[in-house]
């Protein structure tokens, strides 16, 4: 295996996403408009409700995490959706690339885009709501962000799987799947508020643990190391399963002919 050649294949997907994003003025809304609007509206609501600093921190961590996960996962979803919309998906599957190139390339783009959003939102939240995102330290923040990126990869791969099984009908998953997390993983409220069956689901989603880990630095009682271990444990387990799932779905797509149908 030629490492340079394999790396070029990964960069191909970075190139594709970057060039399309550059040309698409609406992508600015995804990067700047919606996350900023979300942060400001929630932050202002917290101010209006006269929430204390700990509660404001709880909510702002949730909002910013949600934006980071959403933007990062949508880049992975876009890597297939751009081809589906352009009816040119077959060209990528005829080329000597595999799911690793596809996901890794788009994930790297997603990490870059969502890092920009994180910096922007951290800046806003610091100036507008006096919330210090860097309080836990750079190391803890790095581990937290990596957890968010892994969660985004999981959601993105799931969207890719759905697109390869259901075609156009699954496009909506790119925006809706992440909203399910908003409901389940304790973005705006602790998961203890959820009904028992939903809470059981929340407990097997890694994002829940990453949020609890980071909130522990803002005075919420917890076991940071335990949360981190569980978050990463679930993330890597699901990533492995998602990868196997994606490979199986690609193979199935070659049996059913959906790659050709999506290119017509």
């Amino acid at each position: 295996m030629n490492f340079r050649s394999e790396w070029t294949k990964v960069l191909a997907f970075v190139f594709k996403n970057v060039m399309i994003t550059k040309r698409n003025v609406f992508s600015l809304f995804e990067i700047l408009f919606w996350p900023t609007v979300g942060l400001l509206s929630v932050g202002l609501l917290a101010t209006y409700l006269r929430l204390g600093p700990d509660m404001t921190a709880f909510i702002l961590i949730g909002v910013i995490s949600m934006s980071v996960v959403h933007v990062c996962q949508i880049d992975i979803a876009y890597v297939l959706l751009y081809d589906v919309w352009g009816k040119c998906i077959k060209h990528e599957f005829i080329a000597p690339v595999n799911s690793v190139h596809l996901i890794l390339g788009s994930w790297l783009t997603g990490i870059c885009r969502s890092s920009v959003i994180f910096v922007l939102l951290a800046f806003f939240s610091s100036h507008a709501f006096h919330f210090d995102f860097f309080k836990p330290g750079v190391g803890a923040l790095g581990l937290f962000l990596l957890g968010l990126f892994l969660t985004a990869a999981l959601v993105g791969i799931t969207v890719c799987i759905l697109v390869l099984v259901f075609g156009h009908k699954a496009e909506v998953a790119a925006w809706s799947l992440v909203s399910l997390m908003l409901l389940i993983c304790g973005i705006y409220y602790p998961i203890s508020m959820l009904p028992a069956p939903v809470m059981a689901v929340a407990k097997i989603i890694p994002l829940t643990y990453f949020l609890e880990y980071f909130r522990s630095f803002y005075g919420f009682p917890s076991d940071p190391n335990g949360f981190l271990a569980k978050g990463y444990g679930f993330s890597f387990l699901y990533l492995g399963l998602a990868w196997i799932g994606l490979e199986l779905v690609i193979r199935n797509a070659k049996r059913t002919g959906i790659l050709i149908k999506l290119s017509e």
Binding site: N2, K9, M19, G86, R251, R255
Partner: protein
Amino acid sequence: MSSYIYISKNVDYKASARRPTRVSLWKSQGFPLFGIGNIVVWRYILEIFVKGLILAPVVRARNVWKSFRSGWFRGTRNEVLRGIDLDIEEGRIFGILGPNGAGKTTFLSILSTLLLPDRGQVEVLGMDVLRGGHGVRQRINISSGNANFLWSLTVRENLTFYGMLYGLGGADRKERVDEAIALFELGNCEKTSFDKLSTGMKQRLALAKSMLNAPEILFLDEPTVGLDPQVSLKIREQIRDIQREKGFTIVLTTHNMAEAEYLCDRIAFLKEGRILTVGTANDLKRNIRLGDVITVVYEGILRSIQLKGLPGVIDSCLSDGRCQFVVDSAQKRMSAILHGLWRAGVIVREVRTSETNLEEVFLEFSK
């Protein structure tokens, strides 16, 4: 004295799975080639020559079946390919003809690893498409009619992206992209986004993209569909010139008989998922036995009985001052027919011949 024997064709793709190379096979330094003691040497040489003379197929399909299921519950199964057997030799342009729904695109998609067969074995460049798909994809490429690419990227950006997918980096990629742009005369629109290109330019971009990895086999799925005759002709000429220059194998599906006749060295006719016949365009015409037509305008009295027994005549008909003969070969039978008419005492005023074209063969096979 020193002797060298060179074989310029790759004899066994499966063993090497590499590009054909010139192999220095055997060198003898003052070695007596003639003699009883050299049976082993002669046998070895003979074996290599026999293998070299018989071209190894670059595509080998055996008993390939493919069906598609429609509907989730109680869905129906539609058999598209029914036991395809086919060998395609290296360095040829091989055409796959057939009516709509014959399975041409499905077969091409299986060869290009985009589809998996239900049953059967498919080898491309000596590699099994089921197990060695990645290796196959590195050495093939495909271009389809009604080409689609990322619509917001320019011609150059699209080519750069697909070049990167083949692992081409830096200067090498730029060189290949430049070459492809020059080859298909895309220089004027290299900064134009795909959605603003004309249909002809889109098709040229598809062909340019398919040349980026210098493929050993190029699959062309109806490359001139939807193009006006002038652009079609130009693209056909480009395909032929490039194939002659680079010497790779082309597997082409088309509905256009003129295209098939112009480009293809050999043709397979596919109908309802089965190969009906394989051969050159002339073979197909001969096999179908439609024959050439000789039309003679004459003066005098001629009766149909006088036309009986003329050699090579499949059918004949008479009308006012005109007779028409369907013969196996117009070139071969012309003199005998004219001689027969002279013996019958008529004056020949005009003779016209028309050969069976591939379109007639197509219609005959499609029945």
